[in-house]
Subunit: 342 residues, 2 copies
Amino acid sequence: MEVTIKDVARRCNVAVSTVSRAINNHPDINPQTKAEIMQAIEELNYVPNNSARNLKRSDNKTIAVLVKGISNQFFNKLVTEIEKEIRTKKYTFFLQHVDEHANEVDIAVALTKEKRLRGIVFLGGYEYHTKESLSQLTVPFVTCTTSDFGNNEECVCSSYAVDDYKESYKMTEYLIRQGHKRIVLLGPMEHDESIGRRRLEGYQAALKDNHIDLDEKLIRYMAKNVVTYSMRNGYVVMQEALKEKLDFTAVFAISDLLAIGACKAIFEAGKKIPEDYAVAGFDGIDETFYYEPSITTIRQPIKELATSSMQALFRMIKSKESVPGIIFAGELIERASTNPNL
Amino acid sequence: MEVTIKDVARRCNVAVSTVSRAINNHPDINPQTKAEIMQAIEELNYVPNNSARNLKRSDNKTIAVLVKGISNQFFNKLVTEIEKEIRTKKYTFFLQHVDEHANEVDIAVALTKEKRLRGIVFLGGYEYHTKESLSQLTVPFVTCTTSDFGNNEECVCSSYAVDDYKESYKMTEYLIRQGHKRIVLLGPMEHDESIGRRRLEGYQAALKDNHIDLDEKLIRYMAKNVVTYSMRNGYVVMQEALKEKLDFTAVFAISDLLAIGACKAIFEAGKKIPEDYAVAGFDGIDETFYYEPSITTIRQPIKELATSSMQALFRMIKSKESVPGIIFAGELIERASTNPNL
DNA sequence: TTGTAAGCGTTATCAA
DNA sequence: TTGATAACGCTTACAA
């Protein structure tokens, strides 16, 4: 059997409450006694049972991170940063991937009860949830990379993301200024209501504002039955477009991984980047730099996204009041995939 | 306050034990009563408190996955598969990254007590641990991608990995047969005692068996102060080698990410792949296909690694007896980065 | 088939 | 400063 607080108490000839005081840094304890207890704990290799603690304590210090959809490099980096922040604050980090088609809020509600969460981080996911489901979320939460969940006046929450519409607009306009008029959009799933849609809208708006007629054929939705936002998806969709002999001079993919897949399809068709087709992505993952040619992209500030999300979450856990979120600026990084002079 | 089992019992005019029987699928319960209870649970939105359950139950169904060192695409894919397996079996998945320089076994021991783990999965990590520290591991564990932990007769454990030595030997020999005699090894950290070392040894052995003198200058250890096994590390080390005007015709990187970094450095130096330098990697991540040119690599069977590890772990949790591990064969995938005809 | 009650390992309250 | 003890929410003998 595992060693418990009782064993420690027995060993030191003190009551369990005294041991508890020692391990929890209570003020009213004799330093001498405490020292002895800590010594015994060391010797016995005692580690408090978390379940018992959580059962008793009101403050079960665990934070869940729910990642919606398949996790890729971008999310992984974000998660890694978040995990660090959580551990630094001595909270327990609990990660769960949630299926593309599942309702992350329902899962969060159940998880909160089951694990007595203190806070939740939502990564990715849809933007709109009903008031009813949201009001069931009794702990503070932050949405990261997705601006917010819609009707959430009653919740303690905050959100941290770039303005997907604006950044997408920025990239499209950049391509237009590079002289492109026929820009393929490697876009979201059809009927997407989330960040993918925002990016699509930014593209459309930029074209319009620059008096370029929107050609629906240039909008290529993500392939079904292929992982969303993946290299493979970009590859498949681009192959299709090339096979159709679609007329275009540039590709704007709404994620870097899609962009990489598209590049491969283009190379396999015997074309050059950027001479035949310019290619740009979105997210700013490291791969874009290392690809040959390096790929133009919008860099999302991952570190800032992670730290400010967590800062807000911890603040809300303390104050039980929502804090204002932040819209971060993305950075357009121009590289050789859209500019032969680089 | 959260709704508890008592609330459900009260609502149904039954005892808590009856409710417990209902939620735990005990046979001795009136189906009618059970139905009513389930109905009430639904209505009250009741979710059992995990901590209380775990405290009472002997079988706290959680499995921890410890990832050593920074996590990259390769590990992420593996972890995702493992998470799926764990959830399928209705276990709780608990992920923790452990620092490159920390002792993962010590962490596992503490975690086991704290969270009452039923099993552990070690990903990456060093190969040798002392008998004493290992004997403290009271729950079954599997090591995945690292052959084993050395002295572990007393543990309930198993291991799943490719033979790093052999696969590395295979790749080196392949490059030799392609006509290369001066092959740069983008190798492990200096003093590495883990898989990196195995791969280095495989390289050395292949050269020797093919009567090629080993030139120490061709062995490039990983850069310190840069994330290990990362694109950046390969990039930096390759830049260095090129600046030295090192004489070589091929590069064998002991990870795909290193290989990609190396490719970039080569391109930036104005050289061609594979015409000037052939490049090969190790692991078989998707990026190697999408890179231009596609990169020759050794594919590790991620899916099989994950499923067989977990199968073994579950079996050991049941039987409390070690099961034999498996050494998987890697697959050499020849691509354009080493063969201009592809 | 159901209810009663003990106990899992902690922390917190109260009294000493 | 310390100790005894109730309680946290659940499972499980055992009794009914």
